[in-house]
Symmetry: none
Subunit: 194 residues, 4 copies
DNA sequence: TTCTAATCGAGACGGTACGTCCCGTCTTGCC
DNA sequence: GGCAAGACGGGACGTACCGTCTCGATTAGAA
């Protein structure tokens, strides 16, 4: 029956969407480690094979879905460092205030430390974009003369939001608006000393 | 038949020690997620029940064993903020340089966000002691006049080592001695602005 | 755009034939139980739907294809019971010597015991024709005076080839030409006692 | 913790029995091919691992359980061939009258034709004992002078009950007491002609 | 010293989930 | 319409661990 390769068969978009939605719900219910493919399939009303046809592993699936959640705002638009920095940190504080997201971020961090594929994926999807946005803020401040021209740009990446992450994820404390003000001031001072 | 209540028996110390050792070896061979109670028992030459008699869950076991690893240095001994701060950060950088420890720290962070018992345990074992050490450093600096007396002590807890953690755990980059110098300077500046 | 209603379409004969051939090849490569519709379709270069359009189930497909294999010789032509009987038994022995066919016959037997549709189908396709051929042999022998006129015709159906089937299918032993001679003599004697 | 090999751990008899019972029920419900380990475990209220700990495969499990069902009566006790033969055939007819047993026998026959291990197991468990009982009957008849001393003993194995099996399993007809009388007479005649 | 009860290694237990395979049906786009 | 391709929901496969339970066989503290 050799015939020219006829009709195709393509992943159905509605199924894909049902799976993504189910993953998010499962993540919310028990966190990364408790997500089971079986439960995702059940909740999505989908066969397990439909999932494995799209993603080769649980990690790839969750990593991909998370990418959607960690979307970040556009480029900085303020007229001074403080404003830009505040916008950056506020948006990150928003993620930290999203239910379950801190735990998911911590999960992904630990998994990525062990899994090169996931690490690359997360870096490409989330890390690099966020880093670029941070560097834009810094570079604009340098251009304005607010920061030193020979500032260590790499180190700047570690200063902006790490204190927020530490507060919420590692110390499991809460982040109030007043805290944000303080941190913006502190980080500004820190960057100037860099 | 009815006799007075007789002798007891106590967890044998050598068994306990064999389990702790096995956990550490398993952690080294694949990280937190790959540790299985079955494998720990096998490696320790111990029945699974002997483990569950001592710890209620895998998490508790690993959390406890890790506690030993996360031991911190004693109280600050320097004569200025920079020195004390550097000692604090260097010791934390040492933990971050220990194989698997970053991933385990991230695991525990995410688990603790979901598990109140574990959260309390970790706070008591690691969080509070480390916080107190940090506050001592800060308070000494205030006493010396290096820092403002109305500095926000709570926020200081989030500034000292968060950038190191972020660099290694979240950004999965490496931490060089030169970086440490930079971060000590920056954090000092940040604290002064607090 | 609007075209005449356009002719109906009919199952293409070459596709049907490709499927039948593929089934036989698959049967040869692992027996009934290992035949998968997926493999048949693959081997035939055919979509699975093309198979299900023609046969409602795996069983029906295989049962049908096997029907072709179980074709039997024409009516008896000998001049005595022995000769007719021998021809009947030899042809059946030939089926039993065909690779995989004993196992397939046993499969179909057990399936038919549970599945009325299949039972009817097999009876109509194979059972009845074979029974009629047997009865012709018996009736001719009665007409010749070789067998009693009040012989129990129904029971005769159970005597002719059952010993061959038992030998090969149930006892999993081999059937030699010398065995056939013996069985022909025995069955003749048995029929005469009926 | 190297210690002398201490306490054992043995398969629990009640669990084993629950599994055997569940297998028989499943066999009755859908036949060999429809028996799933999952369903057996579910029905027995048992984990799948408990089954796999006892039997390496579905085939081994079912083959073993079936062995219990196909138990046969003791040695012949009659004073003539007819009586012994009738007892043999009656007991086999009893098996054929047991619900589902014909289908199971047919299943096992076809599986055994493809699976050497199962074949050996069935031969040892059921085939050989039954053959020996048949040969005892024949040998006693030879000793009494009822059968020829140079009768082909192997062929005798194929004559005794094959017609019953064929009637019920292959032709899917019923077996009445009157049929049994007829078959006993016929088989006797057949054996004498052997 | 004897008794007795908790501990020990071993591993079976009921479960849950893994990732793969195939079932029989459904969908897409070409012919 | 039939067709090849193959995605779909479903369900079973055999394996690996989970945390619990059950065995006899040590221990060792209390009597």
């Amino acid at each position: 029956m050799s015939r020219p390769p006829a009709g195709a068969a393509v992943h159905r978009a509605d199924v894909t969407e049902a799976i993504r939605a189910a993953v998010l719900q499962e993540l919310a219910t028990g966190g990364y480690a408790r997500v089971s493919m079986e439960a995702v399939a059940r909740r999505a009303g989908v066969g397990k094979a439909a999932i494995y046809r799209r993603w080769p592993s649980k990690l790839a699936l969750i990593g991909d879905v998370i990418g959607d959640v960690l979307v970040q705002p556009g480029p900085p638009t303020g007229h001074d460092l403080q404003t830009d920095l505040r916008s950056l940190m506020e948006s990150f504080a928003g993620l930290l205030a999203t239910p379950d997201l801190p735990a998911i971020m911590a999960d992904l961090a630990s998994e990525a430390l062990r899994n090169g594929d996931l690490s690359e994926r997360i870096t490409a999807t989330v890390g690099t974009p966020f880093g670029q946005r941070t560097l834009e803020v810094v570079d604009r401040a340098v251009a304005r003369g607010e920061l030193s021209a020979d500032l260590h740009r790499e180190a700047a990446l570690d200063l902006t939001v790490s204190c927020l992450y530490w507060r919420v994820v590692v110390r499991r404390s809460t982040l109030e608006p007043a805290d944000l003000d303080r941190f913006v001031a502190t980080v500004t001072a820190g960057l100037k000393a860099l």
